[in-house]
Assembly symmetry: C2
C-alpha cells in the first residue's frame, strides 16, 4: 500500500465544486472515477481545498492510497488520458503513508480577477468577474491592509458554516491593476467557506465608493456576515499556489 | 439611411468562423440575427476579417446600413443584450456611407499564444495551443525576422486560396516568452487565408529544432505551401488590434 499525492489543475466552470455531491458532477468525482478505472481498485481521494462550484485551481492537492505497481510519476500522464480536458494532473508522487493534506501547515494563495471595461470581454470571461463601474484601486489597497495578520474572520464566512474556529491568518493581500484587469491576491494559512469571495465582494463595495476603507476594521470586529459585502461570483477565483510549510523545531 | 460600424469581440471556440456558412453557427450569422431582431429590418453585416473557425477576436470590425432612429452609440448595449455571452460589441458608431472595412488601408495585429508545460493547463486552454516539448525561443525570434517587410507569402497560404495577389507586408513580428506562455505577435497590412497559423506552425518547427531559422528565407522564396510548416491550431489565435490607416496625401 502506498499513498500518492496529485497536483490537480482544473477549470471549474462546468463543475459543482470539488467535493462529491448527491447531484452534479464534481472534480473529486471525476478523479475517483478515472483513478478507479485506471488502477482497477476502488479509489477515493482526499482533497486539500474543497473549492466551490465554478472556482478554478492551478494546483489543488489530492491524495489516495493504492496497491498499484504503476510508478507514482507515471500516474499523472495515464490519468490525464482518462480525464476530461478541463481537469489536468500536473504532478503525481509518493508521499508518507500518514500524510494528510488538510492536517498540515499550509500556505495557500487565491487570485481573484476582475475585468473592468465598458462592455464584457468574451475572451477569458470564464476566469474573470466583469465590473463596468470605475473602481478606486487605491482605496481597495488601503482596505486590504486591515486583513493582514491573524483575525477572527467570522464576518467573512457563510453564517451556517460549521467550523471549530473562524480565526485565520492572512500573510499577504495585494490589489494590482494591469491594463483592464484587477487582480486581488490573498495568501493565508487557510480560508473559511466563501471567505475569499466575501473579502473580494467587500473590497468591491469599497472600490465603488459604497463603503470606506476604514470600515474594513469595523466589519472584522463585528463578527457578523451581514456587515461585509456580497459574495463575489465564483468565476473570478482561482487557487494559484499551494505550499506545505515545514514545522520549525525550536 | 446610415452606415454603422461595430467593434466586435468574440470567443471563437464554438463558432464555425466569422462568415455565414450553409452549415454551422457563425459570428456573422449571430450578428445578422440579433441586429435584424433589434432594428426590425433585414440586416447583413460586412466584416473586416473573416476569421477561421475557432479563432478569437478582441476587435473585429463589421459595418451595416440601417434606417433605425436608435442613436448609433446605443446600438452596442442593446445588441449585447441579445447576443450570446461569447460575442460582445465593444463599440458602435456612425461612419461615412461609402466606408467599406475591406477597402481601406489597415494595420491588423494577431496574437498567437502557446502554453509550454509538461501537462496542459486547463485554465485558458481555449486561448492557447499546448506544446510540451521545449522550444528554442531565440531561434524562433531569428526566423521571424525574415518575415518583416513586403514579401510574396504564397508558401504561407492555403494552396487553393483564390486571391489576386499573395504579396503582403508585415510591419512587425515578435516572439515573447512570459512564464509558461510564448506569444507570437504579427502586425501587417493584411493576411492571407491561414497565413498567421502557417507562420506559427513554421516557427514551431524551428523552435523544436526540426528546421533552421535560415530556412525561413528559402520557404518564402519557394512560393510553395509544402515547404512551410503545418497550420497551427486555431484556438491559439486572436485578432487583437485593428487600425484604419489614413492615406497620406503628397
Amino acid at each position: 500500500m502506498k499513498r500518492i499525492m496529485l497536483t490537480v489543475a482544473y477549470d471549474g466552470t462546468k463543475y459543482n465544486g470539488w467535493q462529491v455531491q448527491p447531484n452534479g458532477v464534481t472534480i473529486e468525482g471525476q478523479l475517483n472515477k478515472a483513478l478507479s478505472e485506471l488502477l482497477k481498485e476502488e479509489i477515493t481521494v482526499i482533497g486539500a481545498s474543497r473549492t466551490d462550484a465554478g472556482v478554478h485551481a492551478l494546483c489543488n492537492i489530492a491524495v489516495f492510497d493504492t496497491e498499484t505497481r504503476i510508478a507514482p510519476e507515471k500516474i499523472a500522464p495515464a490519468l490525464n488520458a482518462r480525464l476530461p480536458e478541463d481537469i489536468r494532473i500536473q504532478n503525481s508522487k509518493q508521499v508518507p503513508i500518514d500524510f494528510h493534506p488538510r492536517h498540515c501547515n499550509t500556505r495557500k494563495t487565491y487570485e481573484y480577477r476582475i475585468y473592468m471595461g465598458k462592455y464584457e470581454n468574451p475572451i477569458g470571461r470564464q476566469y474573470a468577474h466583469f465590473v463596468y463601474v470605475p473602481l478606486n484601486v487605491e482605496k481597495m489597497q488601503q482596505a486590504a491592509e486591515y486583513l493582514l495578520g491573524e483575525h477572527d474572520f467570522k464576518s467573512f464566512c457563510v453564517a451556517k458554516a460549521q467550523v471549530l474556529t473562524t480565526v485565520r491568518t492572512i500573510y499577504d493581500v495585494t490589489v494590482n491593476k494591469e491594463g483592464s484587469y484587477l487582480t486581488i491576491r490573498v495568501c493565508g494559512s487557510g480560508f473559511l467557506f466563501n471567505m475569499v469571495r466575501i473579502i473580494v465582494g467587500t473590497l468591491l463595495e469599497i472600490g465603488r465608493g459604497n463603503m470606506e476603507p476604514e470600515q474594513m476594521q469595523e466589519i472584522l470586529e463585528a463578527k457578523d456576515r451581514q456587515k461585509a459585502g456580497p459574495t463575489a461570483p465564483a468565476r473570478g477565483l482561482t487557487l494559484t499556489e499551494f505550499e506545505f510549510v515545514e514545522m520549525t523545531a525550536f
